[in-house]
């Protein structure tokens, strides 16, 4: 404890000394997201918001580049030792906010904590251990060959082991991960990132200040202070930008894209996203859905391009599969197959010319225009004589219904935490199995053991070309069998004032690298 205190005092002294860094990074940025960080403990919840916070206040071993490649951050280099082992070299001289220096023991601490975190443990399951070689060298070891080792390493944001060890005055372990209620880590943080949290009033505002001892002195970033305000209401958030109240907002709703494009003081950046929106057809609830012809008929009856153009106002990329472009499983030959005549014919062949009645559920505040999309799909199904009884619910009530598989067709949007195709299959099309947890969100009860085996095989294939071929085959076969109805990948949009150069720091994962942001 005493050592910790001295470390603190030391860092305070350093912070008060004028630094070259702080003289440059003197811009203030006001930004508005739709929500503020739920907690300061980056292992408490695996969500987009928490990862955004992680990238501001911590640094990962390596991070994604714009074109879905990797770039070393705290890891200087890495090399494969054998099929199951990857050796990393840690950057030297990196300081935590507390003043402690980063070594492999912090990485070890973080790895162990991730294995304990309820949200992250599943992602880190393939890893058997982290072996420390010396102060700046360590190895990540998997129990089987694991092609996604580097993808997963982007989730390791080393935490200050000294800072998070020991007990609080209340006798609570400082490294405890507490989902509900207060913990040391949910209110205090010490990372290596470009920003520290200067003050925080939950739900109202968070103030970040640039960390004077930030290791990355090459970073072009010149923002010294960030004030983050959560503005939930879309209209208000956009108004805040247009009125000059904030400099940077995200997300931008599709209805306001034109408005921002036409505003001479604002800049809009959009990107095709990676979150797939789809409908499952529950084969357990509806006999007809067991017939591949019926599923294909539905796949032909849905006009993905129409939905993307009319309802999403061009703010979505029509999809015929789950893997977006850039993912290994993305099969470029798969196209949406809208053709009502063909759909009617297929229904006839299947013996359901007169159609049938089904129930449908969708959330109404989870995805962009979710309720409207569901209404459009219901209308499209009417053309092949399928009568839809649609119910839309707020997300808080929708997910319990989803877990109960309460309707014949249910909407879900999915983003692969691993940025990899296999994740889609594991959660959305694997044979549902309560024990192993696979197919956890497969509300269609579609089950094809052969495809599952192929994905499992791909998951231990470290030759990435071979692996890509396997995953693309899975997409192809799911498409042929119409296992589910893909709709589109939701686009992403950010907007800023003209002098804030957001384009270079944005990426398809939606973790803006705020540390590198340049404000003119």
């Amino acid at each position: 404890m005493k050592k910790l205190l001295t470390a603190f005092v030391g860092s305070m002294a350093l912070a008060s000394a004028p630094m070259a860094m702080s003289a440059e990074a003197n811009k203030e940025l006001k930004m508005a997201y739709d929500a503020d960080p739920v907690t300061l403990d980056i292992h408490e919840q695996l969500s987009g918001g928490m990862l955004q916070l992680s990238h501001m206040t911590f640094d990962p071993l390596l991070r994604w580049t714009k074109d879905l490649g990797f770039e070393g951050r705290l890891a200087e280099s890495w090399e494969r030792v054998d099929e199951n082992t990857m050796r990393f070299k840690l950057r030297e001289g990196v300081k935590f906010h507390s003043g402690n220096e980063l070594t492999t023991k912090d990485v070890q601490f973080t790895f162990d904590r991730l294995k304990k975190s309820q949200d992250f443990k599943a992602i880190f399951k393939p890893f058997s251990e982290l072996k420390v070689i010396d102060d700046y060298t360590f190895e990540l070891i998997t129990s089987e060959p694991y092609p996604l080792l580097l993808n997963t390493a982007t989730y390791i944001f080393p935490m200050d082991s000294e800072f998070y060890s020991g007990k609080t005055d209340g006798g609570q372990e400082k490294d405890a991960i507490v989902k509900h209620g207060n913990s040391f880590a949910s209110n205090n943080m010490s990372g290596t990132g470009p920003f520290t949290v200067a003050s925080r009033q939950q739900g109202v505002r968070v103030e970040f200040e640039r960390f004077d001892d930030y290791w990355d002195t090459e970073s072009p970033g010149n923002v010294g202070k960030i004030v983050l305000t959560p503005i939930k209401e879309n209209n208000t958030r956009v108004s805040a930008l247009l009125s000059g109240g904030v400099d940077f907002v995200a997300p931008v709703p599709p209805t306001d894209l034109e408005r921002i494009r036409n505003d001479k003081n604002s800049e809009l950046v959009t990107m095709s996203g990676t979150r797939i929106i789809l409908f499952h057809m529950n084969q357990e609830r509806v006999e007809a859905f067991k017939n591949p012809k019926v599923r294909q008929a539905i796949a032909h009856a849905i006009n993905q391009e129409g939905i993307a153009a009319k309802i999403m106002k061009g703010f979505a990329t029509p999809a015929a599969q789950m893997s977006p472009e850039g993912y290994q499983g993305h099969n470029a030959s798969l196209e949406p197959r809208f053709d009502v005549a063909k759909a009617q014919e297929l229904m006839k062949e299947a013996g359901y010319e007169d159609g049938f009645t089904i129930t449908m559920m969708a959330p109404n505040n989870r995805y962009v225009n979710d309720a409207k999309i569901a209404q459009a799909v219901a209308a499209m199904l009417a053309r092949i004589n399928i009568t839809v009884d649609l119910k839309t619910l707020p997300k808080a009530q929708y997910w319990p219904e989803y877990d109960n598989r309460a309707a014949d067709m249910m909407m879900i949007g999915w983003h692969a935490d691993t940025e990899d195709s296999a994740n889609f299959f594991e959660f959305l099309t694997f044979c549902p199995d309560a024990d192993s947890g696979s197919g956890q969100y497969n509300a269609g009860n579609y089950c094809n053991a052969e495809l599952d085996a192929l994905v499992d095989k791909a998951n231990v294939e470290t030759d990435l070309d071979k692996r890509a071929a396997m995953l693309q085959e899975v997409e192809q076969r799911l498409y042929d069998e119409a296992a589910f109805i893909p709709l589109h990948w939701q686009d992403l949009a950010w907007a800023s004032k003209k002098n804030v150069q957001i384009e270079p720091i944005l990426n398809v994962m939606n973790f803006p690298y705020m540390g590198d942001l340049v404000v003119e």
């Binding site: 907690t39 919840q45 443990k121 207060n182 109202v204 209209n235 997300k395 808080a396 997910w399 959660f427």
Partner: protein, 349 residues
């Protein structure tokens, strides 16, 4: 008086008990709080373990008894989202809402009385008809629409160029219809003055007051027409009464008759309606706060619902119930003071 208060307090306890039971009973319909607390890929098994730990798997009755036992000792539970005692969370957000309500009330007071009185004294005047017309429109426009229009006009600004700019009249019309914008459109700003406890006030700085303008006008817009019409109607009735006629016949100054004698009696029903309307005001702050990202209890409550933050929802409803009972009690007391002919219940005749 004492009996009256005792009766009211016991009523308050009953109200809060009923609210807590209802809030507890509907919690299943509010969704699964776990959904908001864990990532999508967390397994059902893990979720169940957390539910167990939080006591969410216990029968509702057990959960309620546990809650009630703590509530009696002043502990209304811990908010899932804020990780803090719910009462602390509410107290942190309450000042913002109170300031918004005070701001709106002041606007209502300063505009409704003079306009209402004027419209009653000169019902045929063009200006009166204009006010009445506007108030009819005002009462039928939803508060969020008012808010959005206000933001567009006074925060973002509007540039009108539909009239020919090369003519003098066109330019004048253009500039008359264009607005500058520049008023803050969200939040309370960062120039807050700390008063005491959790109360950070925006009343004492220019920035704070500027942030208050648009939300307060929006909130007032829904109630102002109501009060104008109410005061006008009451005033017209009072002006017909014998004692006013007598005062006129006696040759008193019209100003004295109107504002001293007539207005006093006009205000009686206004106080009653005003007290009841405080409740409505709370409801409308939810909308206003959402549009303006005003960090008050209304916004907090709405977000608690979307997050299924059940302890916070229950605590909020109980606190609001308490506020209702208190304001109604105060209104009754004031009523007794203003109009001595009214007897409080429990007071011997």
């Amino acid at each position: 008086m004492l009996a009256f208060l005792v009766q009211r307090i016991s009523q308050a306890i009953l109200v809060m008990f009923v609210i807590s039971v209802i809030a507890f009973a509907i919690q299943d319909g509010l969704g699964d709080p776990l959904q908001q607390m864990v990532g999508m890929s967390v397994s059902e098994e893990e979720r169940d373990a957390i539910r167990d730990e939080m006591g969410l798997n216990d029968p509702l009755v057990v959960q309620y008894l546990r809650f009630a036992g703590n509530a009696v000792q002043g502990d209304l539970g811990i908010s899932y989202f804020y990780g803090k005692p719910t009462l602390d969370v509410i107290l942190e957000h309450l000042p913002a809402t109170l300031e918004l309500a005070i701001g709106a009330s002041l606007i209502i007071l300063f505009f409704s009385v003079p306009i209402g009185v004027y419209a009653a004294i000169r019902p045929q005047a063009l200006l009166s008809k204009f006010f009445m017309g506007v108030s009819t429109v005002g009462i039928s426009i939803p508060v969020f629409l008012t808010a959005i229009v206000l933001i567009q006009l006074f925060s973002i600004g509007v540039t009108v160029d539909m009239f020919p700019a090369d003519t003098g009249w066109g330019q004048n019309l253009n500039s008359a219809l264009s607005t500058e914008g520049g008023l803050p459109s969200y939040g309370r700003g960062d120039e807050l003055t700390h008063l005491f406890g959790t109360w950070h006030s925006g009343f004492f700085s220019q920035g704070g007051l500027l942030h208050l303008i648009l939300p307060a006008i929006s909130l007032a817009s829904i109630m102002l027409p109501l009060f104008i019409r109410l005061i006008r109607a009451e005033m017209m009735e009072v002006l017909q009464s014998d004692y006013v006629r007598y005062a006129r016949a006696k040759g008193l100054q019209p100003g004295r008759i109107n504002f001293l004698h007539a207005l006093k009696n006009t205000m009686l029903p206004v106080i009653t309606v005003g007290g009841v309307q405080i409740g409505t005001m709370v409801a409308y702050t939810i909308l206003t706060e959402t549009v303006f990202q005003w960090p008050g209890v209304g916004l907090m409550f709405l977000e608690a619902i979307t997050r299924s933050d059940i302890p916070l929802i229950v605590a909020y409803l109980m606190v609001v119930g308490l506020i209702f009972v208190i304001t109604n009690t105060i209104v009754d007391l004031i009523y007794g003071l203003v109009n001595p002919t009214v007897k409080l219940t429990g007071k011997k005749a």
